[in-house]
């Protein structure tokens, strides 16, 4: 019995057995290898969730403390641009999911086009974010020495504040809008940084896919990048209502 087992073992684990070059020798199967890689990716994403969770907690606590300032600050954001960006990001998550499916089913042109669509949608998101940041710059709503409380102590002088029927805030509370914008830039900025890193990885993946990569069954990179991209989408799913929507009504 035992000797028989010993005799058969080298045949199975040795190099006589055909296996793809990308299957590392310490894994019994490609499925085990990909699950291990995905497991590691998930552990990384969970640390990312904790990281963004800290920002969300800070936002909720400060919103509770300086509620009028956070409502007035939130009224400065464009729901139209925010909604459009949400649409772009959810669509890019869908195209990325399709990309993973194309890689799994070895569809070369499908994978290339899915990655191109994801790339364009991701860049589109950052483009709109830039337009929003530019407006904050023009109105001196970037925290720092040039920050202006004009829109909040005198709402009639500000188009957005006037449209939202904001009441003038006292100077003390108006200055707390700087806390709102600090958190706004910290959260959307961190999210945008993740998008930029994702787009860089996406470009590399697209370059390889165009040259026929990922068609040999070794698609761990595509799958784990997909997990990362969906995670970035999830962060935005929470950022959008918290920053743009929940303070429509003071």
């Amino acid at each position: 019995m035992d000797s028989q087992a010993v005799a058969t073992t080298p045949e199975v684990h040795g190099h006589d057995q055909e296996h793809p070059a990308y299957l590392r020798h310490h894994f019994v199967s490609y499925e085990q290898q990909t699950e291990t890689a995905s497991f590691g990716m998930w552990l990384f994403l969970l640390t990312e969730i904790m990281f963004f969770g800290g920002l969300f907690t800070a936002y909720l606590i400060y919103r509770n403390w300086y509620f009028p300032a956070f409502v007035a600050g939130s009224h400065q954001l464009s729901i139209l641009l925010g909604s459009f960006n949400t649409l772009l990001l959810i669509t890019s998550s869908f195209t990325m999911a399709m990309g993973v499916w194309c890689a799994e089913t070895k569809r070369h042109s499908g994978l290339v086009w899915s990655l191109i669509a994801t790339l364009i949608l991701g860049i589109g998101f950052l483009g709109i974010k830039t337009i929003e940041y530019k407006e904050k710059w023009d109105k001196h709503h970037i925290p720092g020495s040039s920050f202006s409380v004009q829109s909040f102590v005198n709402p009639d002088s500000d188009e957005e504040a006037k449209a939202a029927h904001d009441k003038p805030l006292g100077l003390d509370m108006a200055r707390k809008t700087e806390v709102y914008f600090s958190l706004y830039f910290a959260m959307t900025g961190m999210h945008a940084l993740h998008m930029i890193i994702g787009i860089a990885l996406l470009c590399g993946m697209l370059f390889k896919a165009i040259r026929g990569g990922y068609m040999d069954g070794n698609i761990a990179f595509v799958e784990n990048f997909g997990l990362y991209w969906h995670f970035v989408d999830i962060v935005w799913i929470f950022l959008f209502p918290l920053l743009y929507l929940i303070s429509r009504h003071g």
């Binding site: 019994v28 199967s29 998930w42 729901i79 998550s93 499916w101 009504h249």
Partner: protein, 119 residues
């Protein structure tokens, strides 16, 4: 003996890199599922935007966060394949989310329950 040898070969068969391993086998999620989830996410976005224009007082943030949680769960289960993953992955993600909720929930309950300004 014959029986034993058969089981042995079955055992090694499962370690064959070219054969499917039932426990770890990859489930391929297709375009139909992705399309359905994409549609659900768009509907969720429309509802959350619509709800923000309703006057619900303290319920506005609650509704917005609840819809966001549903959307995030759909993304995790289907786009990120957790519904089709092994128990190890499900438990890991579940434990991570649970820890996250403890950290955020305990921090918030501390701030909310302090007698601010009364000392």
């Amino acid at each position: 003996m014959n029986q034993g040898a058969f089981e042995m070969s079955e055992h090694f068969h499962n370690h064959d890199p070219n054969s499917g391993h039932s426990e770890n086998e990859q489930h391929i999620v297709g375009p139909a599922t992705y399309g359905l989830i994409f549609g659900a996410l768009l509907v969720g976005t429309a509802i959350t935007i619509g709800a923000s224009y309703l006057e619900m007082g303290a319920w506005n943030p609650v509704v917005a966060i609840a819809i966001a949680c549903v959307k995030a769960t759909l993304v995790v289960l289907f786009f990120m394949h957790i519904k089709y993953s092994s128990k190890l992955m499900k438990l890991t993600v579940g434990a991570g989310v649970f820890t996250f909720l403890i950290l955020v929930g305990m921090s918030l309950s501390d701030y909310i329950s302090r007698a601010w300004g009364q000392w």
